[in-house]
Amino acid sequence: MPTSVRCVEEETETADPTGAAIETEGAAQLLERGRVAFAANDFLVAEEALEKFIIDYGEAEEAKEAVRVHRPMLAISKVGLKKFAEALKWIALSLKDPKLDARLGDELKFWRGICLMTGGELVDAQHAFGAYWADESHQAFKRYEALLLFATLYIQQGFPIDAADFLEDQQPKIRESAPEAAGRAVVLELYARLQSEQPDKALAVIRREYDSMESMTQVISFQSLALQLGSTFLENENWYDAIICMQRIWPAEKLIEAQGDRVKEIEERIALLEKRENAQGVVFQLKAILKRVERELENFRKMENFDSALQLRLAMAYQGLGRYREAALIMEEMLAVMPPDPVVESATLAQLQCWMEIKRWPKAVAAAEQYEKVFGEEGKFLPTVLFLKAEALREDQQYGTAQLAYGDLVERFPEDDFAAKALFMQGFLYLQQDDNEGALYQFDQVQRKYPESPMAQDADYWTGQAFSFSGMYAEAREHLEGYLKRHKTAKYLKEAIFRIAVCTFSLAEYEDAIRLLEGFVEDYAGDPFTDEANLLLGDAYFGQGETEAGFAAYERVRPTAVRFFEEAWFKKGNAFKLLEEYETMRTHFEDFVVAYPDSNRMPEAVYWVGWTYLNADEPEKAREKYWEVIEKYGNDPDRYGVLDVIAALPKVYKDEGEDGKETVLTKLQVMKTRAAIAKEATRAVRAGYGKSLIVGKADTVVGSDVAVRSELLDIFKWVDPQNHNPAISVAIAEAQLAAGNRTTAKNLFTEIRRWHPRAVQKDRIYRALGSIAAREGDTDKAIEFYDRFEREAIASAQLGEVRIEKAGILREVGKTREALETLESVLETGGVTAQTKAGALFDLGETCVAAGDLKRAIVYFERLYVAYGKFSELNAKAYWERGKALESLELNREALETYEELVSRADLERFEETKKAGEKIARLKTLVPPAGEAEAGESEVAL
């Protein structure tokens, strides 16, 4: 029950005995003493004196008027002393007095209700308050109290709905005239709605009154009830209402401040009223309100975790609604400002889980780190948090960091349930990164350290898998057989049976493999593994020479398992070839071309169709087939495979030598022309690109071959970087670059990268864009592209050359250290040609010279001609530059020797540097004494 409606609860002081003197008083003295005490609110003395007067003298005729006048005072004094039952009698007598003072009558009628209520006569009390409220001539302040007490009595009698409806109806009528009372009426209404189990109506009260909360006397009560309602909604999984409710609850600090302001206001009002006469009643009521509000405030201040509990509940509501982002954001904000407490700790974990739910891995990692920072080793969820952090890192593909995070958990909490899982995940990560040995070690650790953990079985199974992935099929099979024996309820029963069969097949034990695979297919009919099993079965049967069974097995592979299905198709075709059933083989592959033109293997099928014709000495039919496919699919940009068919055309014209090549070129030219007229851009581009492939070399950087370049420039007008194969677009862009059309090339490269960021030609794209940027003087952009090349195309054969180009730019912009590092990295880059390495060495030497580090430069130049002697031009330059550097270091003898070595090399005779070296030698010889003399001289000095 809310505090607003409890009535008189003022503590009264212990009675002050008036002593024996009273006995000696007469009627006048008693009345005088009673009146004075009453005026001073000393109800104890007033009651005693007035009651004694009435009892002792009341029957006397001359005292009747005095009794009539003082009876109401006695009644009020008894109320003041909480003697409600006794007061009731005196009130009744007083109210019968027709001459009763109106003000006193008003007072007594109100207190009659209180007395009845206190005495448990609830119906009569309610009537009394109802009558008081209905009569507008009554004192306004008390009327509002009567209204509230009337409603309270409904609640006390078990009719909260009536109370709420009554208040809802009456409250607007007093809002303007008595906002304070209206505020309390709202709190009571909300309470009644909750009591009535009318959550929707209660929520309506909260929505309706939110804007008036600022002025509400019992704002804490109101908000506490709102929290209660919100929690009820939450329990009932009524998420939206829970959110609406809790969104309208203030933070504790704001609530305390607002409630404190209200207390001050009441205190000021009391102080003001106490100075007025005849305001005791109001003061009395206000003090009661003040006491309740202060008590609420005090209790609220004692509440711990109010804000965090509220925010957590709100976040839970969002979580319940599936709004994980919202939940996480609320918790994030809350954790940023709230001191750590148990609620905050739970919220941090919940936040982490929410981020993981929406796959926002960096946020999940940050939340985990925040938990570690705030709660440290004391955090009761720390192992869980560490595990989730590692999981988030793994999902974010930060495998190295994830590996460390799992390890951290195992080390810090070896006894925790998560430790075994973390250890297992370390092994799994190794497996993902093809480190089977590392995986085997971790899985072994799981089984040794945590034999009782459920993860031990996982580690056991994956050990077998790791053996299998390493090609150790015998060990894998043995291990998995053991796995099935060791675990009566094997978690990976199906997988282990299948893998044992696969290992048996891999060991070429076809008879056993057939038995095991057939058993698997029968036992697990329809399982996705059965497609691979049937493919292997086909192989095994053919291995055993059981052709029919082999074909039957291949045919059981379903088209839904695309990879296995196509493989089975081609194996079947190959079987026809081995069986020399060429007609069947041709039809088989022709069927594939027709049925699966989108397949990456379509050109392969065309090839085999052509092969059957070539084999039958019918090359024209093979060609016909090729052209048929090219004609049919040539203008469909999605059929990338057509380009492979075009590229393979020379093979079916091989028997005609150069004439055949010419025929192909002519036919492609015709195709291109017709396509252009028909506005079939894709076909035209493909025909032109096909021509360029036949004219030049297929996959080299375009530029040197004029014929290739002009063909590519010709088809530029049709190229569509969004839809066309980047192999074509990149070649065209390179041709444009080679032709000096830098802007056109740049735009095309940019567009290709835009639409095909994972194109295999991205190394060429980045290199070209870097080079264009460098030529445009945008060195930052150039370095950015070269950096991207290094990050994304690390396996490219062009890596070394790109690094040299990048180093050149770095040197140009004065970043000598970075330039040297880049050039050094070329020497260590795998797959880089010797010529590129020689070039890198020369650039290293030159960079050192430019930086004034001559001693270092001479080492690079020497290393060049010592290690890469076959690159004559570079060798000549290296000798020359080394000689010059030695001269600058005043090492004339060594310089002379270098020049002499240069001129002594016959293969370098033709270079300018060699000719200039002769002059150097002549000059240096005058400065450097012959070797013997010098040694003697040095000896003399030494002596």
């Binding site: 939206y240 959110i243 609406i244 599936g322 919202e326 954001l329 835009r754 960021p757």
Partner: protein
Amino acid sequence: MKFFVMILCCLISGFLSRAEDVIYLKTGESALCRIDAITPKITNFTLLSDPGPAKGSARRTVATERIDYFVFGFKPGEEAVYQNRKRESSEVLEKWWNTWFAHLSRPRARTAAFGSAFAHALLREDPEINAKRALSVFDRIIGRAWSEDDVAEAKQGRLRALMAMGDLETATHEAHLLAGETEDPGLLIEVKYLLAQADFETLKVLIEENPKWEEDDEVRPERNRLYHIVVDQLLWPHLFHATRENEAARGLFGVAGVYRFAGEEELALAACEDVIQLYPETDFTPGAVALAEQIQSQSAPHTPEKEDP
């Protein structure tokens, strides 16, 4: 300078001629009057009340430095425009901005309010053409307005103008500064909203330039960062100031738009549903209802018409 002050005085004295104004002195006294002229040194005014038994002239002069502030009376037609200034056209507002311009720096003048409304109207009517002009008006207010509230509003307006001009970088930078300077939730909501809009524009450009961003290891992290930051910022009023229902719903509805842009139809539908359920009576609720219906109709399985036997 002297000439400029003279011109200013003439202008002020001209347009103030028929207003019912109040002068509040620093002593606390006030006078209902008609202000005739204000110079940096003196203010001339005519008392509108009875000049007293002496029946002397009603014209008075007071040293301007003794005046705390003026409350200028509305001129004919001005009050209606002032009350409706957020919806008035730039043409109408420009007149009042010019009328009161000289008083921009005076305490309690309405100039900044008219100026902000004028600049916002410019942006509303044709952002591309008017952005520069709006920016200059906002900058005038920021530089000279007396009220901090007016300056704060003009700063928001400046961000909008910068965005309309396509200068997202400056807008974002200033929005961050502004967000760091204030604790006023209203201003923060607006700034975050503007930041979200700016970031959303950047996101759109990024996606336009990188349609295959999902396949691009370099672009994907930046796309994800922008996407998340836009959504987070738009959600802010909904999560932390939900009782400002219109702003909360605006953000949430904006989130639905971002989700749609990202192809997250289910999330977009959920955001619309949240607007409808949590903020049923805002300016953005009808839009959310319509969008939800659109998404549902697009994702509803096609039911073939019943074939005749």
